[in-house]
């Protein structure tokens, strides 16, 4: 089993932020006689990312048992290379342009089939649950992956608090819609606002996280501040960012990539090396920072979710 209870990450295994910042400078000067491929394989992230110090440290974060014992990707890779189409379709665009997004005041509308629908203030919500750090694998549908230390709380805690009714079978999430600050929303690349969804039992699974931070600090905008979903056994696009609405529904809700191309992006989108994307293979992935591709694991290595899909043909329900 790849996910273990409470394996402590040794302090020695974590690259101090001072050091990877220095390593960049060192690499710049150490041009020397290194082979091009070696250099290519070793280079860290883009220089355009938010400096680590820009985000506030989150207090009282406890370590969670839901943590993988793998080398973390650097803060600059995590915050400098990702998809957030609301800010452009290049993977450096979010780091470049997400700074424009205003994240306070921020309300999350919770509605649909639940007993306590309301517009909740994010700062109030943050006081409801203790924060924990969980190191998860993150697998993008584009066949690259990272290991990311998120800070957040289980979605299940929030769901239970607002008391879904018997009619609630699914949960739909919606991202902020604000084209003045999110210029990508001016082009109909996807149907805006971005939406995602989970089956209620997926939403209640203990692995499903609502993240508010990364590397012990509040989320930078490009990573989905102030509140985002993290579903580690599904392709990255399921982990919707900058959430403003959570709605409980009776039928399967619309989701952005599925609306854009249903044949390529299913509602479930579980990481599955057996089911290829129609245009590329999903059997292997490139871990950012590594040269060789590695094998993609079923459910991204989170075997404990398999029971959610017992009896389902995952080739059909991709």
């Amino acid at each position: 089993m790849l996910v273990r209870q409470a394996p402590d990450i040794r302090t020695a295994d974590i690259t101090d932020e001072r050091h990877y910042v220095n390593r960049r400078a060192w690499l710049r000067t150490a041009v020397g006689g290194a082979l091009a491929t070696a250099a290519v394989a070793a280079v860290p992230g883009s220089p355009l990312v938010t400096p680590v110090s820009a985000q506030a440290a989150l207090p009282n974060v406890k370590k969670s048992g839901y943590t993988v014992d793998e080398k973390w990707n650097s803060y600059e890779d995590i915050t400098g290379y990702n998809n957030f189409y609301e800010f452009g379709t290049d993977k450096e665009d979010p780091a470049r342009y997400a700074g424009k997004m205003t994240t306070r005041p921020w309300t999350v509308k919770i509605d649909g089939a639940c007993a306590k629908p309301a517009d909740y203030n994010i700062d109030d919500m943050l006081k409801w649950f203790p924060l924990e750090e969980r190191v998860y694998r993150f697998r993008c549908v584009e066949a690259w992956s990272m290991v990311i230390p998120w800070v957040g709380f289980p979605l299940a805690d929030l769901v239970k608090r607002v008391e879904p009714t018997g009619k609630a079978k699914y949960v739909q999430f919606t991202t902020l819609m604000r084209p003045t600050e999110m210029f990508g929303q001016r082009d109909p690349v996807l149907q805006w606002p971005y939406t995602e969804g989970l089956r209620l039992d997926e939403a209640l699974h203990p692995l499903t996280l609502l993240a508010v931070g990364v590397y012990g600090k509040t989320l930078p905008n490009q990573n989905g501040a102030p509140l985002r979903l993290v579903v580690p056994w599904k392709y990255g696009f399921k982990s919707i960012k900058s959430i403003v609405r959570i709605r409980f529904t009776e039928s399967q809700p619309a989701t952005a990539w599925n609306q854009s191309n249903a044949r390529e992006y299913g509602f479930y989108s579980n990481v599955n090396p057996e089911v290829d994307h129609p245009r590329w293979t999903q059997s292997r992935e490139r871990r950012i920072g590594e040269f060789f591709r590695r094998k993609t694991l079923m459910f991204n290595g989170y075997d404990q979710v398999a029971s959610l899909y017992a009896g389902m043909d995952l080739k059909k329900h991709y």
């Binding site: 250099a39 290379y81 189409y85 990539w257 293979t281 292997r284």
Partner: protein, 197 residues
């Protein structure tokens, strides 16, 4: 032309120099292999568009000497396409022939890109004055119309690989479409009026 040609050469080579410089100084971001693939592919496509633009440009401006840039631009297209292909084989797949053959038989966008590359090989080989002489001007010209096939296959390759944002593939499709349409229009007009232009 004495200054134009070296200037164009330098301008075409500059993106490669810039790419290599960044590869050695950590400037290629979190996913350098992806970046190299992307930039060599883009440069191949740009070079193809410029190569195809030479003849229409000459016809419109009457500046006949510009034809002397065409072979160089075409060879840049082949160079960048080769680097793009090698990046895929060596850096991206690292000679994983099972994966590569799987891609080549199952992935339409890879097939289109491979077609574009393969078609360019005989064009690069026969780009010398000796080969023009050996083949004869007319046969050589007919062979080199394969450039159109390479251009279309290359843009299809790009179009099929993007996830949702077709902004850039569409730009190249429009450029190549316009340049090929110019040729069609010109050929029809010449057939209608036998007098040479």
């Amino acid at each position: 032309m004495r200054y134009v040609k070296p200037l164009v050469f330098a301008a075409m080579l500059a993106p490669l120099v810039w790419l290599v410089a960044r590869a050695f100084t950590g400037g290629l971001g979190a996913n350098p292999i992806d970046r190299i693939t992307d930039e060599t592919g883009t440069m191949a496509l740009r070079s193809i568009v410029l190569t195809l633009a030479v003849t229409p440009f000459r016809r419109v401006t009457g500046w006949n000497e510009v034809i002397r840039l065409r072979r160089m631009l075409g060879l840049f297209a082949f160079t960048y396409a080769s680097l793009h292909f090698l990046t895929y084989i060596v850096l991206d797949q690292f000679f994983d022939w099972t994966a590569i053959s799987g891609d080549l038989t199952k992935r339409p966008f890879i097939m289109a890109g491979f077609t574009a590359f393969v078609v360019m090989v005989p064009l690069a080989v026969t780009s010398t004055a000796g080969w023009i002489r050996r083949l004869g001007g007319r046969a050589w010209q007919r062979l080199h119309r394969l450039t159109y096939v390479a251009a279309i296959a290359a843009v299809v390759h790009y179009w099929w690989l993007v996830k949702a944002d077709i902004t850039f593939p569409r730009r190249y499709a429009i450029a190549i479409g316009a340049l090929l349409a110019f040729r069609a229009w010109h050929a029809i007009r010449r057939r209608q009026s036998p007098a040479p232009l």
